[in-house]
């Protein structure tokens, strides 16, 4: 074909332009904003001073660490809950595999915010879950789940579980069952076959799942606001408040950049180890 050479560029150009204009440029813009001084009234001057970063980290190190900790806990919980589920659907789901996956995705048609708020009511002190347990005397009257770290972590794990189940399912489903049979023929028991054959095959899926749960959970603030009360705020809460309420853009953008920097280190070391193509493949 004559225009074989131009065709791909013509195809990618509109999307390129959009992503460059509204993703690449804004990230750069935020970097420049994080290196300014001033305030809303006097305006912002580009000073290329890194003072904002020092301020941001020294003021909010607690929230940064808490975010990474909550994210890590929620991610581990997602693996613990999601792996057996993905395993069972992939190997024992039979003709109903797609139905199970749809059931997992179905709750997500209801707004993320609305589901999280529902949890607030479910977990409230004398609500549908804790109320009966308390009246039966199984829990003491003073027991509370709401506005605690476990409530936030539970909410995060709840909201992001499908992002762990789907990639693990995807790799297990593609696995040749004859590999497991071969392991059994070589006298591997169920446990041995799992550890030596199935687990290594599923690891790329687990990594993809970690990526897709750790990044959104550690930067989420909806769960922390709704389920965590005032003492469990995460870094997302700070960014949102500084941007939208305090209008302190230099500090807000530097703290955002710190968050992204921490996550980017993880992403790129991971992408280097596996290659972006493969990572995306598991994502899809």
């Amino acid at each position: 074909m004559r225009n074989r050479k131009i065709t791909p560029y013509a195809l990618v150009l509109p999307a390129w332009a959009w992503l460059a204009l509204f993703f690449v440029v804004p990230i750069g813009g935020m970097l420049s904003l994080s290196l300014t001084t001033g305030n809303v009234i006097t305006g912002f001057q580009q000073s290329f001073a890194v003072g904002n970063y020092v301020d941001a980290v020294s003021t909010y190190w607690e929230q940064i660490l808490r975010s990474l900790f909550y994210g890590a806990c929620a991610t581990l919980l997602c693996i613990a809950i999601g792996y057996p589920m993905a395993y069972w659907i992939a190997f024992k789901g039979g003709p109903y595999k797609s139905t199970y996956l749809l059931l997992i995705l179905l709750p997500f048609f209801v707004s993320f915010v609305l589901r999280t708020i529902s949890w607030r009511f479910l977990l409230s002190d004398n609500g549908v879950v804790l109320g009966p347990l308390k009246s039966m005397g199984l829990l003491s009257e003073g027991f509370a789940l709401l506005n605690s770290a476990p409530a936030v972590i539970l909410g995060l794990a709840y909201n992001f579980l499908p992002f762990m189940v789907l990639p693990i399912y995807a790799v297990l489903e593609r696995m040749d069952p004859r590999m497991v049979e071969a392991a059994h023929d070589l006298y591997a028991g169920r446990f041995q076959a799992f550890v030596r054959v199935i687990l290594p095959v599923s690891l790329p899926g687990v990594f993809a799942g970690v990526l897709m749960t750790f990044i959104p959970t550690s930067s989420d603030y909806v769960n922390a606001s709704v389920l965590g009360g005032t003492h469990n705020t995460m870094i997302g809460n700070i960014i949102q408040t500084q941007y939208l309420i305090n209008n302190n853009y230099p500090i807000a953008s530097s703290i955002t950049f710190v968050l992204m920097g921490l996550l980017l280190i993880g992403i790129f070391s991971y992408a280097r180890a596996l290659g972006t193509e493969r990572v995306m493949e598991v994502h899809a």
Partner: protein
Amino acid sequence: MSTDVLTPAAAPGTPAEPRRAARGRRRIDWGRYYTWAVLAWLFLPILFMVAFSFNDPAGRHNITWQGFTLHWYENAFAYPELNEAMFNSVSIALLTMLVSGGLGTLLGLALGRFTFRGKQLTNLVMFAAISAPEVVLGAALLSTFLMMGITTGYWTTVVAHVMFCVSFVAITVRARVITLDPQLEEAAQDLGAGPWTTFRLVTLPMLFPAVMAGGLLAFALSIDDYIITTFVSGDVTTFPLWIWGTTRVGIPPQVNVMGTLLFLVGVILAVVNIVMARRRR
């Protein structure tokens, strides 16, 4: 997240079954109970929401069960601001679906079919756009709009939603393009079809399921988004934003009604998907 997850038509046989049958002893399938227990957990807040859309609350707080009523369904549209928020959400999601569907399809086609300079870079940018935290995307866009003096509102929201949906559509379409047989297009050209006719009559129909899946994904991502939207929407309110705004003063039961209706749309789509998958088999 993609077509083959939603409709795994090419599912290989179920492994390990004959072995167990041969052993002759039926074990209790704990995995089944476990999976259903987790599913029950996933549906718990939905159940609460659906039940309380029929509740007749005593005060402003719709938390304890008082009695059955259909009142909120009859007055589902009693809040003009809620209706406006819902309209904004749906229209933004439709626009996002159309624009990101178009851009993403072209991008996916290029990535799946051609080799070109900058392909690796494109993959990297898409990967970054998918994995970047929503707070960062929202904050970065707001920074840019601020510096350029653009007032945030309806159109900045559409722009932002298209930005984070394009890569998802492109990946879905690319996965389909890779599995297509290029000989079908060559055959069309041999029969005298020009490039445009080939695309319209051969390539596009074959791509259509993936384009549709990508578009629906974009719609779902857009209508559900809260975090990015808060940063870029200015004075415009969407459904999630409106719910959020009312949490402090007590959520009206109409929100549960809207949530239940949205959930029903999901159930219908799921049933259609299952029936279509059956028919194809």
